[in-house]
């Protein structure tokens, strides 16, 4: 719809409420983050960040968030594909259930996943037989993040999959392409931007996730300690400066990641002629 400059009422009031609330709740608090870390010298910041434990936490957070987001793409594609294309019993309910990770408080997710994947847990015991430990290792973090991020890919891919033109597939098949060739030459390309969006949303969420991870992670410094937990630990030790610097760094890094993904998305959109 067109955006005409109208003389509808309420512009001043609504803009006022919006800017006021945003400033009070988001802008001023986030700028506190910047000013507080500015109190540290650059050397101080570097010192706080270059700490081995901090670096290890970043490594754990990034690698687990990445692994989980990547897994989410694979699982999400399968689920979205089946939900859109195949007849299934209880399809409506199953589809509604996809949003469970959004609706279930993360603390609940955390304790229940821990219980399931603990070495003697419902699922964990089978892995134990194979000598694999999931809970209390980085694997546990990945499992929690997969749970948290599952809806993102499904929900971004689903609408695109529905819009796809069936005729293109039929054309491809009639030209002699196998089903698999049709999938990765005709169906996959238009899905790529949606997949990237889903991936970046899941990844960003995974980087910041706290509640569901801390129960299952084991939280061993250098091994399975994530960045948000490290921030909390620093806070509990009243090391506000340290917490602030780490928080700021993770914000900056997350922001850069988002920029990269956005750029990538723009690029694929252009290449696939969408948008």
């Amino acid at each position: 719809m067109s955006h005409r400059k109208t003389r509808l009422p309420g512009f001043g009031l609504s803009l006022g409420i919006t800017v006021f609330t945003l400033s009070l709740l988001v802008l001023i608090p986030l700028s506190a983050l910047v000013t507080q870390s500015a109190e540290l010298s650059l050397g101080g910041m570097w010192h706080a960040l270059a700490d081995r434990r901090v670096l290890a936490a970043f490594r754990v957070s990034f690698s687990t968030a990445f692994a989980a987001a990547f897994t989410n793409v694979l699982l999400g594609l399968v689920v979205a594909w089946v939900l859109v294309r195949y007849p299934l019993p209880f399809k409506r309910s199953l589809d509604a259930l996809i949003d469970l990770p959004f609706a279930l408080p993360t603390a609940v997710a955390g304790i229940v996943l821990t219980t399931l994947y603990a070495p003697n847990g419902w699922l964990g015991q089978f892995f134990t037989d194979w000598g694999i430990r999931i809970a209390f290792t980085p694997m546990g973090i990945v499992v929690a993040l997969i749970f948290i991020g599952l809806p993102f890919v499904v929900r971004t891919v689903e609408p695109v999959l529905q819009e796809l033109d069936r005729q293109q597939e039929e054309a491809s098949t009639s030209l002699g392409a196998s089903r698999w060739q049709t999938f990765y030459r005709v169906l996959l390309p238009p899905l790529v931007p949606a997949i990237l969006t889903g991936f970046s949303l899941a990844f960003a969420r995974g980087l910041g996730e706290y509640g569901s991870v801390i129960f299952i992670a084991g939280n061993m410094p250098m091994k399975s300690e994530i960045v948000p937990l490290l921030i909390v630990t620093k806070l509990e030790q009243y090391d506000y400066a340290g917490a602030t610097v780490i928080a700021l760094a993770s914000l900056v890094v997350a922001f850069i990641m988002l920029l990269v993904v956005n750029g990538l998305q723009h690029w694929t959109r252009q290449r696939t002629g969408q948008d």
């Binding site: 109208t6 919006t18 988001v26 986030l30 195949y86 399809k91 229940v112 399931l116």
Partner: protein, 288 residues
């Protein structure tokens, strides 16, 4: 959190994959849903009743649990209406007017979603805590913000701020301004226009946003955990209470309390589906 409320699932029986591939894919999808979504729900219930009905009832009627329920409800009761007001105001100015900085504003509204909840809590400590901007001034003057109710409310508002606005902005943009303009030209006051035209037209989208906002407000853990101080019987919300019980190895009690939150999640999903369905129906009738 998905911004596509008009989804509808069309069965496409003419899929070309071989039956074997279809069977395998369907089973895989069912396995994923079963393993990651259904099993955890079942596990919550089973674990909650592991030590019997008696323990369950004791856990959820416990004094501290009751207090946590009250606190969680209270926080949601404050946050959700405020964020609804914010969401409607933000959507109104962004979807109905052109002004410099509009896209910046849209980006800022989404910002809380890309910030870790832990950082959301941290920033309020930096402002209100000892060593912070106000250096504990509020606390010293008998109005503590951190480790108290206001801090919980603030942190919850931060993390739930975008929910309503995000639903409404695309909806109102897509609806266009003409009906509101028509109302004004027919002589309606701004207030009348809001109540008789704007709100009735966005009610399902609004409700959708409110449902999601409420679920998150009641379930928020990270941000609240940082600012609350975990004072049992005082600043403990339900999710924090679950954590405390769990860390004290009162597993059954923890899961008992968790069933309340899982119930909330189920109610949320059902309500969400109903709203989605209504919204789609309204959409279809409007575009027929």
């Amino acid at each position: 959190m998905n911004s596509t409320p008009h989804r509808h699932i069309v069965a496409r029986p003419q899929a070309d994959e071989t039956p074997l591939v279809r069977y395998l894919l369907s089973s895989l999808a069912m396995a994923i849903i079963g393993l990651f979504l259904i099993l955890p729900l079942v596990a919550v219930l089973v674990e909650a009743f592991r030590d019997g009905w008696q323990t369950y009832m004791t856990a959820i009627t416990d004094r501290y649990t009751r207090h946590a329920i009250g606190l969680t409800l209270f926080a949601a009761l404050v946050c959700v209406p405020l964020n609804t007001l914010f969401g409607v105001a933000a959507a109104w100015c962004i979807a109905r007017f052109e002004f410099p900085g509009r896209s910046l504003l849209t980006t800022l509204i989404d910002l809380p979603f890309s910030v870790s909840p832990v950082i959301a809590g941290l920033v309020f400590i930096l402002i209100f805590g000892a060593q912070g901007w106000f250096d504990g001034w509020f606390a010293a003057n008998g109005f503590p913000i951190l480790f108290a109710l206001p801090g919980i409310v603030l942190a919850t508002m931060f993390v739930t701020l975008p929910f309503v606005a995000r639903e409404l902005i695309p909806l109102m943009q897509q609806q266009g301004a003409e009906q509101e303009e028509a109302a004004i030209m027919l002589g309606a006051s701004p207030w009348r226009m809001l109540w008789t035209i704007t709100l009735p037209r966005i009610k399902w989208g609004l409700l959708y946003g409110v449902i999601l906002c409420n679920a998150r407000a009641m379930g928020e853990f990270g941000a609240v955990s940082v600012v609350s101080g975990h004072i049992r019987g005082s600043t403990n919300t339900l999710p924090l209470h679950v954590e405390i019980l769990y860390n004290e190895y009162q597993f059954s009690a923890a899961f008992a309390v968790a069933t309340l939150l899982a119930g909330l999640a189920i109610v949320t999903l059902i309500a969400k589906s109903i709203v989605e369905w209504r919204q789609q129906r309204q959409w279809e009738s409007a575009s027929s």
